[in-house]
Symmetry: C2
Subunit: 374 residues, 2 copies
């Protein structure tokens, strides 16, 4: 299983061409591409352009509706509920966070809960939108059910990532993590790479530990039991109920407040029905934003400089690895898995795009990989 490196510009051109051929406007394609490639630049391959083929299938199946317009169905000066009308998740997410930011700029805080959307990429993208404007940003999303509750064997919650971004120097605090031990995307990457899962990540259909990525993914899709464990693993002794509780907070903010579908009711009746939540908050609600930013920056620096455990050389703060990854990938290119390139090749063929106009003479090696079950 190999990786090829491609320049940001090459992948940007590919994504823009593909998304406009999907039927999106140039402006829409720009947003979707930006969300996906930001993920690839961060090194979060699972949520980057590898999702393109999957989005195409979702459009063909009618789960994602081109041309849907997000509708504000309820609002106050500090809050809103949006019905996404099954549009593209990135477009709905971008619209919702833009609204939250506008409310925060006017009233100090803005919160938007969204129902009836689709997969929106990395939660951190939206949190960062607020952070780039000097605000504290937060976003979370539910997903197809993939997490088993503590002591359960059927997936009843999503991967339920929660992202928080707070302005700081030399780089922002950007935390973006699923409330499962790992994401579905990570299982898909293990499946693509044909590797067994580490212990403690997932359970099979009987609720017992499993290391078979393909089987766990198939079980989840078939809703036959099996799923990924909450952060904290399978027992209360290691804090399983805490990851499960964090996921519940995500479900409440996204699906409950918007009266949308909780993760166990997504993907019913031909609708993805994913829910999101967005928050933007002006630190000036608590005093001088510059003093708050300086106070956080000093603490982050203290953390990075604090004594390392034996055998460790570095302590990271959240957002630091991503900042380094962006610099590296803009300079040396973005690594793309050969199996993803096989999917891109097939997509180009479907969309009557010339694969070689992006990738020259490169041809992805054939493999036994039969795709992830969606």
């Amino acid at each position: 299983m190999g990786y090829q490196h491609w320049s940001y510009e090459t992948l940007d051109r590919l994504c823009m061409d593909a998304f406009t051929r999907f039927g999106f406007t140039d402006g829409q394609a720009r947003i979707i591409t930006d969300v996906l490639l930001t993920s690839d630049l961060y090194g979060i391959e699972s949520h980057g352009m590898q999702r393109m083929a999957r989005y195409h299938k979702s459009i063909q199946r009618g789960l994602i509706r081109i041309g849907a317009e997000p509708e504000i169905v309820f609002q106050t000066p500090v809050s809103a509920v949006i019905d996404g009308h099954a549009g593209m998740g990135q477009l709905i997410g971008h619209r919702a966070m833009t609204l939250a930011i506008e409310k925060a700029q006017a009233a100090g805080i803005g919160m938007v809960s969204v129902r009836n959307s689709n997969h929106y990429g990395i939660a951190g993208y939206y949190a960062r939108m607020a952070c780039e404007r000097g605000l504290i940003g937060m976003s979370c999303t539910n997903s197809a059910a993939i997490m088993v509750p503590t002591f359960g064997r059927k997936a009843m919650l999503g991967s339920d990532p929660i992202a928080v971004a707070v302005p700081a120097d030399p780089y922002a605090f950007i935390f973006d993590a699923s409330t499962t031990v790992v994401t579905r995307g990570k299982l898909e990457m293990y499946n693509k790479e044909g590797r067994p899962l580490p212990e403690g990540w997932a359970v099979g259909r009987d609720g017992r530990p499993s290391t078979d990525a393909a089987d766990v993914l198939a079980c989840i899709t078939a809703k036959q039991g099996g799923g990924i464990l909450p952060l904290g693993g399978s027992t209360e002794k290691t804090g399983s109920h805490k990851g499960y509780g964090n996921a519940m907070i995500c479900e409440i903010l996204s699906a409950v407040l918007s009266l949308g579908a909780t993760s166990n009711h997504t993907m019913e009746n031909g609708c993805a029905n994913i829910s999101h939540f967005f928050l933007a908050m002006d630190p000036a609600l608590f005093g001088d934003p510059a003093a708050i930013r300086a106070h956080l920056s000093a603490y982050l620096q203290e953390l990075r400089e604090s004594p390392k455990a034996e055998g460790q050389e570095r302590i990271y703060t959240h957002g630091e690895k991503e900042a380094a990854a962006i610099r590296d990938r803009m300079e040396h290119g973005i690594p793309v898995n050969d199996n993803t390139m096989l999917e891109v090749q097939a997509l180009c063929s479907d969309l009557e795009m010339d694969f070689s106009s992006y990738f020259g003479d490169y041809l992805p090696p054939q493999s036994g990989f039969r795709g992830n079950s969606f």
Copy 2:
């Protein structure tokens, strides 16, 4: 190591008498007692009346100042910053959440960040204050540094619990959990009971795994390295950076927004300098509160009824165990550890209170326990 069961009324009388002798007014003693005994009723012994002796020492050492008045140093219609002036944490917490609730009732949402306070008991108490008024409640607090960051060996963050309470039937969703694998209180209970810690909870002064509760606690107090691991353990593979990130969110909301002391700077210059955060939010910001409450209640019921893993009989939702514990303890009494009773006996002697007027002929067995290091 034995336990005695005592009625709620007995312990309530003891706490009220002790706190008024500490120098608090009846009204203040009522709040402090209510916070502590709520914790004991929940079964969270570590944050209940076993803390009484510790609070007494803190008052004697000047860390907790009787008569301090929390001061609002900054506010907007939806937010405030309070300086606790080193008062009793429960009184400051109660005042701050009351203010957050008032703001939420007027403006939909209220957020209060607090600096210069003391240990405030369980975070869930304050979240529940909002929930009992039909609001969504949230609270978090930092603490003396006890959590090592991922790959670190020196405690730089607190146990940093985050609590969220949301109205639901037949009982509220109440999530209250430290962002460490376990709390310092749990280590203190293991120390009292003389049991080795489970693997994966703590590291010694070199950053390597340790099961010696007394040594870890002593290292933390002496700030010599060593601490409790974040939820997710010691490696990124098990999600250590996620627990660490959740703790950072707590530090930012409490200590950074209030310009208070981050956990690594608490307990300096004779000040505990603990920071808290409180949020109350009206679900009516997102539509019909009754519909939102019904939607959450239905989801909680689905979770409880969902298929169990092999070998498991029950799936809990957050707040369910606590509701059962309250019923049980109001009927059968609250179990109190013999070593805690030894501390209570000494406290009664210090305060010239008659131990037998609460506990009759009972005398706690002497043991080799020499107290937790504070």
